[in-house]
């Protein structure tokens, strides 16, 4: 059973007395967990991270670390280290000294410093770079130095603020796997901030979806993807068709001028709802065999699938399929009951 490590209770952050950046955040995470704060820019995810790191004080609410309130503990006294977005390396020191910084501050004996710096550098595949200057390294290498520098103090929590944001796609994919590996190797909690939903799905144990200073949903990647709690989450995580619908009764929802069987219940009768269907869950068939009939508006090749826009009576549906229909063709669309997500209007 993993143990709770950090808890935020009723944390709010208001800038200049008017801009609410965080609105009553309640969140906890466990030892050795890979937790991702996911959301669009300005959703408060970085502020949350800075509050945990101690760089900002919440306007109200409490932060607990291992059960102890740490609101007023300065960053240098927290057992938490940070990997900054643009690395923030010390340009006046070489790679070795950058990584050794935390140990030098704690006056660790020289031979132990050497041992641990070697260890950290080999963990991020940078052995042999000790004497190099910061500016002679590529972005990806600087990022790895930043990680080595942050884990050298053996923190209980590592905060990562969009650490891969400045890297190109290929490098980012590589670093995602590497980061996940490092996290499992050192066995500490990672709190990872990103706006990239794919990154979040790939790496996390738990995803916290945020928008406009509020937590929208907390769950495993599979939960969040398959059972989004509201239209925002559905739209932000992956592609979605979101249409207005009416809940007729339990297990029955109507949208697109038709009533569909579904797996949701517990709504008020005739409640207006958001209906979410993933593009890959819509199946194209002959018009007479579909539940919805529409005309193919466009077909775009996306690599492993075609993205097809089908204009129905009330809505233009986005469909992902491996077999492309012709533009202008009439097609039928059908969907399985358990692929229809019904959610309260937010």
């Amino acid at each position: 059973m993993s143990k709770e490590l950090i808890r935020l209770t009723n944390v709010s952050m208001v800038f200049d007395g008017e801009t609410t950046v965080l609105d009553n955040i309640n969140l906890y995470f466990n030892d050795a967990e890979f937790l991702t704060l996911l959301g669009p820019s300005g959703c408060g995810k970085t502020t949350t991270l800075r509050i945990i790191g101690g760089f900002q004080k919440p306007t109200s609410g409490d932060v607990f670390f291992d059960g102890v309130r740490i609101n007023d503990v300065p960053p240098y006294k927290r057992q938490i280290n940070t990997v900054f977005q643009k690395y923030a390396l010390f340009t006046h020191m070489n790679i070795y000294e950058n990584v050794a910084f935390g140990l030098r501050i704690s006056k660790t004996p020289e031979d132990e410093i050497r041992k641990r710096v070697d260890e950290a550098l080999s963990m991020v595949n940078l052995s042999g770079y000790e004497k190099r200057s910061v500016n002679s390294l590529s972005g990806g290498q600087q990022q790895r130095v930043a990680i080595a520098r942050a884990i050298i103090n053996r923190p209980k929590v590592l905060l990562l603020d969009e650490p891969l944001g400045a890297l190109d796609l290929k490098l980012r994919k590589g670093m995602q796997t590497e980061l996940k590996k490092i996290q499992q190797q050192v066995g500490i909690t990672f709190v990872y901030v990103t706006h990239d939903q794919e990154e979040a799905l790939t790496m996390s144990d738990t995803i916290v979806v945020m928008n406009e200073g509020r937590i929208q949903q907390i769950g495993t990647p599979i939960d969040i993807y398959n059972e989004p709690k509201n239209a925002f989450v559905a739209n932000f995580i992956g592609e979605s068709n979101i249409v207005d619908g009416v809940m007729e009764q339990d297990y029955s929802v109507s949208f697109a001028n038709r009533t569909f069987e579904c797996v949701d219940k517990g709504f008020a009768r005739k409640e207006a709802v958001d209906v979410v269907i993933r593009p890959e869950d819509l199946v194209i068939s002959a018009p007479e065999r579909g539940q919805i009939i529409g005309k193919v508006e466009s077909v775009v090749f996306k690599g492993i699938f075609y993205e097809v826009m089908v204009a129905g009576e009330t809505f233009t549906w986005k469909v992902q399929t491996t077999r492309a229909p012709a533009v202008g063709q009439l097609v039928g669309l059908s969907v399985e009951p358990d692929n229809i997500q019904v959610m309260h209007k937010s």
């Binding site: 960053p75 240098y76 923030a88 006046h92 935390g102 501050i105 942050a150």
Partner: protein, 282 residues
């Protein structure tokens, strides 16, 4: 494409007004009144060793004082908001917009034996008090025509040249780098020692250079505030060109030696600041 021709005006300017005069100075330093090539000028110079030591001593003192005042101000200023920065910048630059001589004359009228400061102290009865307590015959503090007044003049005139480069460098330090140091366990004093100070060294070196060089070669300040009591290199050189002792050959030789000493000082400093980024060197 390299647009080398863009440098032509500057190169031309340099050639006419820097390189040629420099050659003339070297040439003058090596001849005597009769146009014979000789090292006599350098031999004569040994009589003025005192001026050399005084000049360097006072310039070093002034530079150190500027650094001690300027560094904390820069540090404070870099942390302030935009509004405070703007106002402080104007306050720092304001004296520089006034004529240099005017500023120095103003100090004269402040420091004179019957000047504003002494008159003020007299009127509040300070001298009477001191005379009664210590049995002295004091009627003013001698301030003008002392080495202290010269140093004061230097500090007053050159302090902005210390503050500006240091402030600029500190202001450019990424706040995230400072946060990173705190994050890794460094309390504020350590953050300063291990991160802010080393990163600000290029600015410190620029500031030292920009204060020390004009200070070591000044003549107006020592003339007005030192009253000719403290003979500095600048005065000595001026005397050789405009004074009764008219001897441009000796003047050139002194200039040349001073220049070499300053260059050596800068090279030594440059060496210490190596790898700390680029500073302004003359």
């Amino acid at each position: 494409m390299k647009k080398k021709y863009l440098a032509i005006p500057y190169v031309g300017w340099m050639a006419i007004f820097v390189i040629v005069p420099l050659i003339l100075v070297v040439g003058y330093a090596l001849i005597n009144r009769d146009g014979q090539v000789t090292l006599d000028n350098f031999r004569t110079m040994t009589q003025y060793l005192g001026a050399f030591t005084t000049s360097f001593r006072l310039a070093i003192i002034a530079t150190v004082i500027c650094l001690v005042i300027g560094y904390p101000v820069s540090l404070w200023l870099a942390r302030e908001g935009a509004a405070v920065k703007r106002i402080a910048m104007i306050a720092i630059m304001l004296p520089m917009w006034m004529n240099f001589l005017l500023r120095t004359y103003a100090w004269m009228s402040l420091l004179e034996n019957t000047g504003i400061i002494n008159t003020l102290l007299k009127n509040i009865g300070l001298f009477d008090l001191i005379n009664r307590v210590f049995g002295t015959q004091l009627s003013y503090f001698p301030m003008i025509n002392t080495p202290g007044a010269v140093v004061l003049g230097m500090v007053y005139n050159y302090l902005p040249f210390m503050i500006l480069p240091i402030y600029t460098v500190i202001d450019k330090i990424d706040p995230k780098v400072i946060e990173a140091a705190e994050d890794l366990g460094a309390p504020p004093v350590m953050v300063f020692r291990k991160v802010i100070f080393p990163l600000s060294l290029p600015g410190v070196l620029s500031g030292i250079t920009m204060v020390f060089i004009p200070a070591v070669s000044t003549f107006a300040i020592s003339k007005l505030l030192g009253g000719g009591m403290t003979l500095l290199l600048g005065d000595l050189i001026e005397m050789q060109f405009y004074g009764s002792a008219y001897n441009p050959y000796l003047g050139s030789a002194i200039s040349l030696v001073m220049m070499v000493i300053v260059l050596i000082c800068m090279a030594v400093m440059n060496h210490f600041g190596e790898g700390e980024g680029e500073a302004v060197y003359f």
